[in-house]
Each structure stands twice: as C-alpha cells, then as structure tokens.
Symmetry: D2
Subunit: 250 residues, 4 copies
C-alpha cells in the first residue's frame, strides 16, 4: 500500500514526520507538503503561477504552494505511482467546529477525496503538543479499519485527538461539527511608520458544544471523528429554495 501524507504546517513540522514515520511502519509513504506554514489556506489552489518541487534530504517533497496544491500535484502527475490513501496532518492545533472551513489540513484531505482517494485529516488539540505519538497511533488504527472496510466516497474523516497519552484516551466518537459565536473583532493597529493595519481577530467562543459535537468529545477525552461532506449542496433546503424561487418573475 502506498500512502500520500501532506499537511498545512509545512514539511518541517514535527507532526508531519510523527505521522509519516508511524505510517511507514505499515505502508509505503510519500510526503508532499508545503515549503512553509500555510495554515488557514483552506482549499486555495494556485492557478496563476507555476509550482516548484524540491526533494529534501529526508526524501520529502517540498512544494511552494498550498496544501491543496501539494495533494493535487502529487496525485495528478508528480508521483510515478498513485497512492491509495491520503493522510493530512498531524496538525499542530485543533480543527473543529466551523473553523474547519478555513483549515488547510482538512483541505488537503478534501483534495485527496476529490481526486478519488479515501482521505483522513488528523489534528492534535494543543498548540504545543506533547503526544503526537497518540495521534499517530490513532492514524494507524483508522488506516487498518479503512483497509478492511471502505468509507463512502462522499465523505472524508476529520479527526481531532486530545493531547494525552494513548492510555488516557477514553475512546473514539463519531461527531458533528460544533459551532462558535461570531469571531472577535478585527484588531486595529499602527505599523512603525504609523500606517494603519488590521489583524484578523481570534475565533469566537464555543456556542454549540452539545454532546454530539467535536468540541464535546475532545473536552471529555475522546478522539473526535467527524464525517465531512465533499458535496456542499444543501439538499435539505432544495425544496425551501424551490418555493422561494417560485414566486419570482423575471
């Protein structure tokens, strides 16, 4: 088996090598990752500039593009042999709730799924993680199950692992995304030349962290596993929309 590993923290991130090393014990692994931190890149794809690839001393491919670029490039031409699964991570910090939409880690997995492969995004819920090993073990566990039992092609898994020793993990929980309150306000400032600058503010506090959510699972010591849709159509609202449109006259 051949696994493609990518991330959004860049090819030097310790979470990436923790994941790649552990998966290497059970499969052939190729790493194609951004040349630097591209967090919050979402599904951004580089169409207007060419990409460059460099193979590093440790064998990883470093790309001057986004996580989506990395996976796209790898699967549509860079790799001689197609991978059969895509892993993205281990991200340095959680990817939960509605923030998932901005996540480069999740985007790399999404791109894998778009291009036809089962894909898993995996994050550790601490900004200074101590237990990458736990998350890496969870990755292997999921991989083994994925080999035995496929997942539906309309879904990727978004996995968030508490930063705990494996023995302290309570279990695995299928979750839905929680929700946050509206982001904190933008932070205005001045640069040293006295020109106005704005920094995007911190995310809002948790608004919906009910029992079924990723927020809840992780806070209670469980690994949160959220199935994410690739097709953004809101099927439940198609009828509502039909009614809504019916009244309109061109």
């Amino acid at each position: 088996m051949h696994i493609l590993v990518s991330n959004d923290d860049g090819y030097l991130a310790p979470g990436l090598s923790a994941l790649a090393n552990k998966l290497s014990e059970v499969a052939r692994v190729t790493v194609v990752a951004p040349d630097r931190n591209r967090s919050a890149a979402s599904n951004s794809l580089t169409l207007d500039m060419p990409l460059r690839v460099q193979q590093m001393d440790n064998g990883y491919f470093s790309v001057d593009g986004t996580p989506t670029d990395c996976v796209h490039l790898a699967i549509t031409g860079l790799l001689k042999e197609d991978p059969s699964i895509v892993f993205s991570g281990i991200n340095n910090g959680e990817n939960m709730g509605d923030d998932v939409l901005y996540s480069g880690t999740v985007a790399a997995a999404t791109e894998g799924r778009f291009l036809g492969l089962p894909s898993i995004a995996i994050s550790i819920t601490s900004s200074k993680p101590r237990y990458f090993e736990t998350a890496a073990n969870i990755a292997v566990l999921l991989l083994n199950q994925l080999i035995v039992k496929e997942l539906p092609a309309d879904t990727i898994l978004n996995v968030n692992v508490p930063d705990l020793p494996l023995t302290e993990i309570k279990g695995l929980k299928a979750t839905r995304l929680g929700q946050r309150h509206r982001s904190e306000p933008v932070i205005e400032g001045r640069d040293p030349r006295n020109k106005k600058i704005y920094w995007v503010g911190p995310p809002g506090a948790q608004q919906d962290a009910g029992e079924e959510t990723d927020f809840y699972a992780v806070e209670n010591g469980y690994v949160s596993i959220t199935p994410l849709k690739i097709d953004l159509t809101n099927y439940q609202r198609l009828n509502t929309l039909n009614d809504w449109l019916e009244e309109l006259v061109l």
Copy 2:
C-alpha cells in the same frame, strides 16, 4: 438597507462595479474587495500577516487580502455600520460543480453567512462576459425576495447566470452541484533557466450533469441557484461512521 459587496477578481473587476452600481439603485452599498485577482483563494484567511485597507477614488475599499479577509474585515470592524446582506461577484466565469470549493467568490459569501448575514454569490458563465447587466438584474430580483422572505441561516445561495440578454433567460432553477471527472494531469514544463515547473491542469470534464444540476440548468438557459451548506458535517454518514468505529479497539 446596507449591502456589503465583495468579489475575488479584485476591486477593479467590471463585474464588481456592475453589481455594486445596480444594487446602489435600491440600497446603500459598501464595496470591500481584494486589491488584485484572488481567484481560487477559497476560504483562505490571513492570520499571520496584518492587512491594509485603502479607500480608492470611487469609494471602494481595497484590501491586500483574500475575499474571506475582505468580508471578515468589513463585518468585524472596518465598517462603522453593520451591513445586512452580503453579495459576492459578479464573478468573471462560472462557479459550478465541485469546483465551488475552490471559489473565492463563494468563500466571500460563506464568510458573510458565518458572521451572521444572508449571503449570495453570483457568477456569470463566460470568461469574457457581455451581459453583466443580466446578472446584476438577477441580483436585485433575489435581493427583493430576500427582504420579503428570509432564507434559512444554514444556507447561502450560489447563483450562476448564463451570459445572455435578460429576455433570453428561461427562468430560475433551484439546483444541486454537478460533478466533474478527475482534473486533467498537472502540466510539467521548464522555466527559461531550465528548472522544472508544474502548472495545475484544467478541471475535468463534466461527469454528472443531470437534470437537477447547475451544469444542466445553465446549459439550458436557466439561472442556476444552488443552496450551499455552511456546516460541512455529513449527517447522513454519522450512523455509518458509528458502525465503522464500533469495531475499533484502542
């Protein structure tokens, strides 16, 4: 009423001013848009660098960030008075099928919805559009209906308008996203210094363009209106996933 207008083609794009001008006839409009073309930026948010805003001669605010940055900045602090609706577009070219995930135009609308506002993304299905006026009229039509009748808060509208005179438009259709075949392979080349470069290849051909899809609607002269989800959870797969996880032992 106060409408925020943004886009991903940049503040100079003719589709942006076509939309802003038309909406100005019925509401107060503020434009906050990227300082240059940021197509395919998806929901990318700039967290590691400050943003700068410049008010241009025509009153538009130009931001050195992504479409998501523009809407985020506008709503969380730049504007004195909160807008009540977000429009994004008129994009120069279609945003249909699974490509929607990469779209900066759709991302700007998504960000509006995240921050609590009804949001509509609007694109014209030609790369050299002649009938921006048609799309602008559709925007006003939808705006008027939105004022009368709210849409569910878990949804944005993704509107694709054929590049035709308004009189030739057959009607409005609620659609689901179509699907494409896997993208064409990456295009390898050499730069003039003989270094290898890669360009992301073109999108794949239409694979699922069935009657309910956006592809089908537009090809048959209809305005396609797809309700898009903000919550990426694949609720339909939660049970499947539960079963799948049940067998796993930590």
Copy 3:
C-alpha cells in the same frame, strides 16, 4: 521622442500620473508600473516566476512585479518601439543619502541605464506631497537639457525636489549622497496570536549632511541632483586591495 515612465509606488500613485501627464505635453509617454506599492524593492528582479501585464483603462501597463521588472520587461520586449529615455517617479517621499540603495524608484532608473538608456529618478521630499507639479516641471526642464546635451553613460540622475511651489525653489544643485547614522533598532512585538514579530526600524538620523550633500540642498530649498554610478567597483580602493591581497598565500 518616446519616454518610458515607471515608479515604485504602483500604477495608481498620483506622483506617477503627475509625471506622465506633464511629460506627455512634450513627448510620447508609455507607463509601465507595478500593480501595487513596491517601495524598498531595490533592484530586485523576478527570475523564478512569470510576470503578467495588464493594460488599464488609462492606458498604463500594470505589472505584478518590481520596478526593475517593469523597466526590464518594457525595454526587452513588451514595447513595440524602444523608448529613448526612462523616468522613474515622482516618488512619494525622498530618496536621499544611503537609503538610495533600497529605493525602487532609483532601481527603475538604474535598470533603464543598464539597458542602454539615459535615466532619471525623481522624488518629492514629503510623504504627503502638495506640489507634484513642481517636481513634474523640474522633470521637463531636465528632459529638455538631456535632449540637447547627453549625460555620460555611466551615470543616472537621482533628483529630489522640495515640496514647494516652483517659485519658492531656490535652484538646482549637483550633490553627493549624504549619510545617516546606523538605523534605529528593530521593533519587536507580538501578533494577536502571541507570536513574536519584528518590524524593520526607522532609518537613522542624518550623520553627514554637509554642504555638498543631497540632505543639505533640499533643506535649503534647492532641487538636489545626484549623479549615481552604475558600476559599483570601488576603483579608488583597487590598489589598497592589491596590497592587502599580496600578503596572502593560498
């Protein structure tokens, strides 16, 4: 006569149009300028990425590159007909003393000279200039003299014009570059995510502002005109270096 005009403040800068408009009264003018502010770009040349050019509504060419890229592109292929002179400016703020080395305005002129053309960089010594007209008039004055009497091919002119009405300008002075004290320290800070950031600090105070310097001329109401070398060889030190090297044994 055909004049190429560029700058480093970007194609929208009022100093650029003030210069281009005034020169248009006496010659044919083509403007090729960066698509955004590229101050302090120095002679940076884009070798690893392609450049894109867009002709704007006012006829200016906007390039997604540095000032050096703009002049390089214009002269080595973009323009059907070679220009005979390059003007760069009017820069928003002075370019004097040793800071000149960082200047994109001066770099654009240097590139013109490298590619075989007489070149003049022109700046106005205020960050919120009121009298662009004065600097534009000086440009025409120098142009007229340049037509009559060539300048040596190893030299460009670096012109700094006080922000005063033309009638208050005392005259034109040939100057040497002044010198500054060492820059102020770098400014340490934290971004809103509590990560350390550094801003380059302000330039040092004037150290050598003697009578022959650009600093002195401008402070006393004169237009400062400094001849700048293109060849960076320090000919005066060749003998010293020879002695210095003589003692070395491989």
Copy 4:
C-alpha cells in the same frame, strides 16, 4: 570573534553550511538566513510587513524575508551580542559583472557594511558546485587577513571562486566588475489557461571581460576579489553635472 553568516539561497543551501561550518573552526558563528531562495532580491528591505524568525534544529535562524532583512534584523536587535564581521554565501553560482546589482548575496554584505561591519560576499562560479570546500577555505584566508589588517569602511569585498580543487586555484586577483551586453529579450509565453505570461530573459553575453575584470580572473583560474562601493555617488561626474545644470533656468 563573532561572525554573522547569511546568504540568498536560503537557510537550507549547502553553500551556507559549508561556509558556516568552516568559519566555526576559527570563530563563533551565527547564521541568519532567508527561509527560502531569495536570489535576485537585491537590497530589497521589507518595510510594510512584520518579519518572523524561527530557530531551526541546527541552530540557524530562518527569516521570512530578504537577505537584507536577515542581516538588518540580526544586527539591529535579534542578536544579543553584535557580530564583528559579516559573511554572505557561499552563493550557488557567480555574482560578477553588472549583475552584481541584482544579487542578494552581495546585498547581504552591503547591509552589514551599512550597519558598520566589515563584510564579504562569496560565490562559487558554477550552478552545480563541487568544491564548496575551496571557497570556504578562501573565506577563512580572507578572514584571517581582515583580522590583521582592516579594510576601508567604504568598501565590501565581492569574492568569486572558481569551482576547482584548492590546489588548482592559481591565486587571488583584485578585479573590477566586467560588463555584459544588454540582456536577452523577455520570453513570452502562455499559461495553461491561455493567458499571456512573460519571463525575464537570460543575461547578455560578456561585453567587457578585459584583463582587470572579474570575468577574466575567474576564467583563468583565479579567485576574483572586487572591492565594491557603498556610496553610489559618481564623484567623477559631479563637475560634469555642475556644468550641465548651470545652463538651466527655473
């Protein structure tokens, strides 16, 4: 003694570690280098964005800025203790003739000199160098002489070392910069979306490669050492300019 080492090829470049390792044998070395290839950055200085610094596993500091930023940051605040000398290199490829103006390698040395320190730029004249060791040895040789005998403060040394075993080097030569013919034309192309792109073309052929030039020295197996000016004033042309200006009436 404390030496600051930087470059423009990025902190991972083998030429950088070859230089830093060799200098470490005789002095304390701190490396502050760009996080990626910034060739042709010239003296570009980042004023509008903050810089970030990361200390890597090998102790090097990686900066998301230009070579000039790296040296500026290091000397004006990042380093606890001031270095006493700046080395830049070993650059992967020559920095000779008039191209020197674009060079990031030379710019890093220039910034060191601006900030008060003796500075040496060192390059190896092959794009796939085999003998970094030779250039590293030359660096130590020059360092030893610099300790004994200072160089004038208006000068930096630009060193170009042939890619040969040390025993095949003929000697050291003080040189002037040679000159090239005008660059080759810009290379027009189309990206895969059929949009026009332009690549900066290759440099021109050697025009002036006379006996005293760097071109000549290197071609004949010598190390070329060119003293470069920091002050760009063309003193020799001050009188010419005075005459030229005398005739002008405001």
